[in-house]
């Protein structure tokens, strides 16, 4: 049994066999064989080696000229690796002694080597993993020729383990058979995370080397609530997690049922608004089902998934109009493009040394006014069809905000000239996610209709911590006194000017901080749809008087960990389902 900790990006608990998508591409169907078949299976393994070597030999002959002097020895080396007597002896021993199927035995033996290479510090050698994966793939392909199982027609539920999942891979998945996603890389906004949340499938990402640690067919447990993945669990652990998984599903269903149509109001009658963050238009119905009163953050980055060109006005407009119509009179806050130059080549992006401090979000938009205008025009036009608001990301100074608003006014003038209708009273807000913006909130608030605090970036920039970096991830603390002071001052400035302050970072959907934020006076919480019921439940279980007391205590604390522990403990006491 081995326990790994990653980033929990989609809640829920599952126990199933691992399906490794990376080097295998197909699943190892059988782990054990009958004792009487040992001889037959060894022959099958040897046949697969011969066949694989023959294939490579053909490649070598056919492409001799094209491969050239340098590549031909590589093909020869692969042929020798396939025939490596030492490896062969180990595989055969595994078949004989452990009654492993040849597929599983190969996977186990070779995985040990890729793991050893993975820890080599020399990238030249870590790249050799590809050579080993290559021969593994060839061997497995030839072994499985007939019984090969495509990912598209899985017969039993699996937990998908991969280095990373590409959009095309996720398209071909039979999602009814996928009980969880586990990947080496990625974060909360990675493609895997989004798909998982949309489907309500647990997911843990950022596990570094999980795709090497697990062999296809291994039983694994995924806990998307805590970010744990357990490899080869014992019976007792399986039992425990299966029970937890069931009770989580029941708890979630009950919560949704219990809270359906109920407002997010404290016991002493203070109402707050719960919005959803949405990455894709398809998520809007899901958000409404979970009780979202609107969309507090509609991300538009998915529109920019063709790196060679910016989306057209039509492409923007069709999406915005559709969600406006779907949400009827509920508010939708559309955020303009929030990508960095590292993600988008439109306008010729240079490779940046430090993309998080580089040309991203509003900075990119201001430098590429044509594509920015296109997006603004589409948002304005769509504002005719529903309650749409507009939000600029990553504002760090007053002049940036003024520049962006100037372009917006230009676009409005042009629409008026063209006699194209739009909502003249369209509300304009900004994200507060750069510490400088938080500190000049008093200046910024006078020129906008609302703020939305983006805690992920605010924390990362304020504490100078990249939480994707293992060495410093523990320094990423939402309850750090500096972060709490920034948040409080932003909320206070909003209140002083009678303008709404929302929060759309992860912190607003994390139940640990719900009472604190409530007490600080946050009026609008925007979060991933699936956590809305939890947050609503907590809000309905406290009084504002209590929340104010708790937040005062948190503000006086000098230690982030103590604050988080205290908040967690207090919340679990008033809503015992949480712990």
């Amino acid at each position: 049994m081995e326990i790994k900790k990653g980033i929990a990006v989609s809640p829920g608990i599952s126990v199933a066999r691992a399906f490794i998508l990376d080097s295998e591409e197909y699943r190892i169907p059988l782990r054990y064989i009958d004792a009487k078949d040992i001889g037959k299976e060894i022959t099958r393994y040897e046949d697969a080696i011969h066949l694989s070597v023959k294939e490579l030999d053909n490649i070598r002959k056919r492409f001799a000229r094209r491969l050239g002097e340098d590549a031909a020895p590589i093909v020869e080396a692969h042929m020798k690796m396939l025939q490596d007597e030492h490896v062969k002896a180990q595989v055969i021993e595994n078949i004989k002694k452990n009654k492993y199927s040849p597929e599983y035995a190969i996977s186990r033996v070779l995985r040990r080597y890729t793991k050893a290479l993975y820890s080599a510090h020399d990238t030249f050698f870590t790249n050799r993993i590809q050579d080993i994966n290559d021969i593994e793939r060839r061997l497995l392909k030839n072994l499985l020729e007939e019984r090969r199982e495509e990912l598209g027609d899985l017969k039993e539920p699996v937990i998908l383990v991969a280095h990373d999942l590409s959009p095309t891979q996720t398209i071909t998945l039979d999602r009814s058979k996928i009980k969880g996603f586990v990947t080496d890389v990625g974060g909360k906004t990675s493609h895997t995370a989004i798909i998982a949340r949309m489907q309500g499938i647990p997911a843990v990402v950022g596990l570094n080397s999980i795709s090497l640690d697990v062999s296809g067919g291994d039983t694994i447990i995924i806990d998307g609530n805590s970010g744990l993945v357990i490899i080869d669990p014992d019976e007792e652990t399986i039992k425990k997690y299966s029970a937890m998984g069931k009770s989580y599903v029941v708890f979630e269903k009950k919560l949704i049922q219990e809270l359906k149509g109920q407002p997010a109001v404290t016991k002493d009658g203070h109402k707050v608004t719960l919005f959803a963050n949405v990455e894709l238009p398809q998520e809007v119905p899901l958000a409404l089902k979970y009780g979202a009163e609107g969309i507090g953050l509609f991300r538009t980055e998915f529109l920019y998934n063709t790196p060679q060109r910016a989306p057209t006005e039509r492409e923007h407009f069709d999406v915005y109009k559709k969600i406006a119509v779907q949400s009827r009179d509920r508010q939708i806050v559309i955020r303009t493009m929030d990508l960095g130059a590292d993600k988008i080549q439109v306008g010729g992006g240079n490779k940046e040394k430090n993309p998080f401090l580089g040309c991203r979000a509003i900075r990119f938009s201001l430098l590429n006014p044509d594509s920015f205008r296109t997006q603004l025009r589409a948002i304005l036009r769509a504002s005719e069809y529903g309650y749409i608001s507009l939000m600029f990301p990553m504002i760090s100074s007053l002049s940036e905000l003024r520049d962006a608003k100037e372009i917006l006014e230009d676009v409005k003038d042009k629409l008026t000239q063209d006699k194209i209708p739009f909502n003249q009273k369209l509300k304009v807000g900004i994200m507060i996610e750069v510490p400088s913006a938080a500190m000049i909130a008093d200046l910024l608030i006078k020129e906008v209709d609302f703020f939305s605090i983006g805690t992920n970036d605010l924390i990362q920039y304020a504490l100078a911590v990249d939480r994707g970096n293992e060495c410093v991830a523990s320094l990423y603390q939402p309850a750090h006194p500096a972060v709490l002071r920034l948040i409080k001052s932003v909320i206070d400035e909003g209140a002083r000017h009678h303008k709404n302050v929302a929060m759309c970072g992860e912190m607003s959907g994390d139940w640990v901080y719900t009472i604190l934020l409530l007490g600080l006076g946050l009026k609008t919480f925007s979060m991933s749809p699936i956590v809305i019921p939890e947050v609503k439940k907590i809000i309905r279980s406290v009084t504002m008087v209590e929340a104010k007391k708790i937040s005062a205590k948190a503000m006086a604390s000098q230690n982030a960990q103590e604050t988080a522990d205290f908040l967690k403990e207090y919340t679990s006491r008033i809503v015992p389902q949480f712990s």
């Binding site: 020895p73 490596d84 007597e85 080599a120 050799r128």
Partner: protein
């Protein structure tokens, strides 16, 4: 008979795929068991894949152990191969200052 020798890998890319294959070929010609040891990590020299997992780049110190009736000849053959930089062209230490082309 058992013999040992400390050597340094001098060719530019270290024991990568082709050198590993040359070493394994040579080791397979002898009856003796030949082991490569790097920082206490031992691998069988008959196995290309095991040799690769040593991740022995340029200037890595390796201990070679040879055990068996033809231990001496086997050890000598392997050492010669390493000292010749695996007969790779323009790949040795001497040519290094002509510019490192990288991968």
């Amino acid at each position: 008979m058992q013999l040992e020798k400390d050597v340094k890998i001098t060719n530019k890319l270290g024991i990568h795929v082709r050198p590993a294959s040359r070493i394994a070929d040579t080791a397979n010609k002898f009856k003796s068991k030949i082991t490569f040891i790097k920082d206490g990590f031992e691998v069988n020299a008959r196995s290309i894949i095991e040799l690769l997992t040593l991740a022995a780049g340029q200037n890595t110190a390796i201990k070679i152990k040879s055990e068996g009736e033809d231990a001496e000849a086997a050890l000598q053959a392997i050492v010669n191969l390493i000292e010749s930089n695996f007969e790779e062209k323009n790949n040795g230490n001497k040519k290094r200052d002509r510019g490192f082309t990288g991968d």
